[in-house]
Symmetry: C2
Subunit: 210 residues, 2 copies
DNA sequence: GTCTATATCTAGATAGAC
DNA sequence: GTCTATCTAGATATAGAC
């Protein structure tokens, strides 16, 4: 692996602007999300992704040196977009944290492709040899730390009962979010994902309130 | 599709016994579960599954006429084993229903391969064109009906508050179960799946109790 | 930066020998 | 019931022209 491969090529950032190459790169990443959503990682094909974008397979491999490099780039880009948008700030309270999670669910309800992609990749990554296994281990660790931290601060501030188990409660919250996404992906019109999460978190907050 | 293909061949049931062919068939199904767990459906290979069993790809296709037929057979067999074991009897109460669900989670903690398979297939099946899409739609419908029925009877008997929303609560319970399985598959020693489910259901029952 | 061409491998399915 | 052989199709990756 060389240093600059699979990341934004130097030339396209020359003189501060984003050249056409970046737009092409972005369109490849967007197309990959849709393919991973439908096929998962293993069964996705570089040639089919390239065809959707309007380039050849060889052209795609100029931007991403391998299939696995493309996967990693897709996941990195998701982090840039979402984690910084929803998890950058430290929540002031448990209630504040819960509101952000509902916002995230509402946001996700507008992009079924991305939801399906994470469903499939998170499930596939359960196998230790999967190229995204380490990524999802870290991702859950980060989410659990973020939420359990907010709960612990809620206990300290007197917002929540002192016997609240932050770690295990955070695990349960993550499970509800992922499980709802799994059901929702099967029928995106069947129910309101964000409303279901809100109902759960409201009840949880009432039970945990000091 | 012909009538007897992909199901147990007639010859092997002759005179009431199970002939060697059935044992081979069962071993193919077991191997397929492990492969679906690791690769999903699309990326699994009949040749690799056959190799694990010790037959050739041609030999496997004697028992299952196509890749899709094998998938359907695996899912049908899972239903025979699990749905009848855990969902056959109508629960007498919500508490009774919840106990059965915890039993199922504890049972699943003993078979990570099958858990991963359902994680991956349920996620993949979110795409409308997936061969298991209809199966998982029906499966969720059945689980939701079963659980929401138990909740409704709990309301009728005075066990639960009258304003309990059985349908939406059942959806939440299913989400917790699936979400816990997703996290657990990434690290099967990280936490106790059945204990987490029990803690959630115990709290839920306290909140819903009349 | 993108193309064509190619090397190498593996896929699912069918046909027919035993 | 299982094997070998074969067909067609598609995969990833590399090399080199433009």
């Amino acid at each position: 692996m060389e240093a600059n491969q699979g990341r934004r090529p130097r030339t396209s950032r020359a003189r501060g602007g984003y050249a056409v190459g970046d737009e092409r790169r972005t369109r490849i990443l967007d197309a990959a999300v849709e393919h991973y959503a439908q096929w998962g990682f293993h069964a996705s094909s570089l040639a089919r992704i390239a065809k959707d974008v309007g380039v050849t397979q060889g052209g795609l491999l100029h931007h991403f040196r391998s299939k696995e490099d493309l996967l990693v780039s897709v996941l990195e880009r998701s982090d840039e977009q979402d984690v910084e948008r929803f998890f950058a700030a430290e929540p002031a309270s448990a209630a504040d944290c819960f509101r952000t999670l509902v916002d995230l669910a509402a946001h996700n309800a507008g992009r079924p492709g991305r939801v399906r992609m994470f469903n499939v990749l998170a499930a596939e990554a359960g196998s230790p040899g999967h190229p995204a296994h380490a990524y999802f281990e870290r991702r859950y660790r980060d989410v659990l730390d973020h939420v359990s931290g907010a709960l612990r601060r809620g206990v300290d501030s007197g917002e929540l009962r002192p016997d609240t188990d932050g770690e295990q409660t955070a695990r349960e919250i993550a499970a509800v979010m992922d499980g709802l996404q799994l059901q929702w992906a099967l029928d995106t019109t069947g129910f309101d994902m964000a409303e279901r999460l809100r109902a759960y978190l409201d009840r949880l907050l009432r039970v945990l309130a000091a």
